[in-house]
Amino acid sequence: MSKSARQNTNLATAGEPIVGGLRRRELLQLTGAALLGVPLLSAEAPQNLSSPLQTIAGTSTTPDLLFVRDHFKEPDVSLEKWSLRIEGAVQKPYQLGFADLVELPSLKLEAVLECAGNVANGSAVSSGLWEGVGLAALLEAAHPDADAVAVLLEGADSGRLFDDCPALPYSQIVPLTKCNDAESLVAYKYNELALPKRNGFPARALFPGWYGMNSVKWLSRIRLLRESDRETTFHQSGMNRLYNRVTQNDGAEQITRLSGIQLKSVLAWPTNQLKLPAGRHLVWGFAWSGANAIRKVNVSSDRGETWSEAKLDSAANGRGWVRWSYPWLATPGDHILMSRASDSNGNQQPLQRDPTRKDAYELNWCSPVHCSVL
């Protein structure tokens, strides 16, 4: 018997029905409760979770499969007590609660979120429909000073990043121009549901097109900064030492702050080292870029010697990813599969890591997937 037939559960029967019409299992699924083997919430240690991309059925990552990369222990944020303070280089600092936030006009958009340290064929990447309040409108309501140039975003999670640094809240600094982008949000919903707790409930920053570290989770404070504001939690905590692009050319080291997501594609299936019977198999995966639309994905089954064009199964929706597929006629033997994306500006995903790079971020080269076919 299908279980759903008997689960119209509304236990708040002392008052009027609250959850009318929805069956409980459907509701639990809707609210992301049906976790697929993912560890529990309220973790004691920083979480580092992601699910294989092959588990994504359509074009969107379900809330229970959203990747998690924490720096500190997940904070115990109470919904009723949560507030977001906007202050710093402003004329009218203010604070708003969850109810105030969600009742403001909101924007929905598809966006990819990728960890800057996601490995070449890694799964620390998710895409779906976000909803939130425009960060620009929230800042504007505080009447920023004319000389405000950047925004410090602080989460409710805190800890010590380095031995020589004090325990401080997680924080990032984002240029005011980026915060004023129409797409920059304080997000409180994902795929039409409240954010999962481990993904920043009740609200987080969201900078579509940028790597995930700037999209501060459990957002609790926004402080506008002037050029002269140097002593922030961002600097004191040592966060300024992380998430930098380090290149070395002729012995000279250059350091720049990471921001936009690099052009990338991944093979979701087959997974590495999979054994396959000979025959036709549908190879598939995802492709995305922080700045431009995906135009094409090519697939190779001979380590990049030859390439064939894959079919784009979904259109690039805003800043979301594209799902692609390719019917591969697998012949007996060992194969090395690769995918390679191109964007609307004619950029191609690199075949190899830039040898001048000395950091471990923006790992977007075409990664080989080994497959043996019988």
């Binding site: 299908s2 002392a14 036709r280």
Partner: protein
Amino acid sequence: MSLIGVRRFIAACSESAAMKGTIALVFCCTLAIAADCNTQLNPQQKLAEFKRLDAAAETAMQQHRPSEAIELYAQAVCLVPNSARGFYGFGVAEAAAGRFLQAREAFRMSDQLQPTTGMPLLMQLRVNYSLQDIDALKANLREAAERFPQDAELHSALARFLAEKNLFVLALAESIRSQQTANDTNTKLQLAVLENTVGAYDDALRQALSLEQRTDAPKEMRGAAAGVAGLSYESLHNSEQGVHYLQEAIDLDPSQENSYLALADLLEQMQKYTAAVKVLEQGRRYLPESRAILLALGADLVRAERYQEGINALRALLREAPDTAEAYIALADAARRMGDPSEELAALRQLERVSPDYPMLHVLIARCLLNKEPADYAQILHELAIAAKRNPTDPEVFFLQGKAYTGLERYDEAASALQHSIELRPLDPGPYYQLARVYQKLGKGEAARQQFERVKYLESNAVK
């Protein structure tokens, strides 16, 4: 109405603070043209006439004649343009007639004429929902928060309305506002339910457990709180606590059908079918009329291998509610487990009669027919042809086709169907094995060996 009358009416409207906007002015003009009000009456006569029109309009509304009510209210507010009640009734009539833009304007007028009550604002919000104008709906919520910050009842009513419309996050926001001013148990319970609904399980648990422990609260309330706690624990994958609190919900308030169903469901997930049966039997004693409990009990008796009792329960249910599709599925399940394909087929045919579009129905029938002796392959292929038409990418359909053709010794067709099944689901060893046997029948020894090798290969594959 004469032109002079129209001008007077518009002038009266314009004096009202409500009439500043163009839309409102247009609305007023519409009223003026629609209504033929007698401006010659003295104030007392106007009031008497207003009361008569108002009563007639109410009667029209009660008798589901909103168009007539609209006309009567139009005349009423034409006579007394500063009547909040008149505009409120007018808005209700317009909304009932599905004229939501006009209804919104009428409620706006009513609100501005009598800004001390939240009802017109609540009605504007309902109309905005009907218009799917969520930005305007949110503006209503902000206005309610600003103008009625202490009105817990209004915010609670807003929360209920929004929850009914599945706008759970907004409902939660209003419930939080309500809780901030009214710290009563009803509000706390509403908040706990909504927190659980949106996935704020820790918050839901905090609220629900504090309520459940309040011995001064009514048992029904504590039972509902225990139920919320049970569901939140379940969502947090703490099944043992989930069971504990759902049982607590039943103990505190045995009259709630959903508590039995939720607990039995959780026990099913834990594969504790005997315990689930016990819970549902308890539910039957308290709620003997509940068909949902009877259905669940029948299915769980089957799962607990008490087949005949399960069948009896399901048949009892079908005597009362012969269209219950899930009961036929459970009956078919019982028959299959008892090794009785004829009974299984009978149950599935009854299901076909009451629910011909039931998902995978024809695959289930074909699978059942394959187990019957002698197998009716023509019928099986007929069922599978229907299934393939409905879902041409279901590999199971072609796998079963392969088996049916094999039974008919039509090996080439069997091989073709199995190859198609493999294309659709290349990592399932079943079709390879079946294909190997078909190749053997065709005398293709090498091809058969290759397929057997692939079966072994796939079975050794650490597919994630």
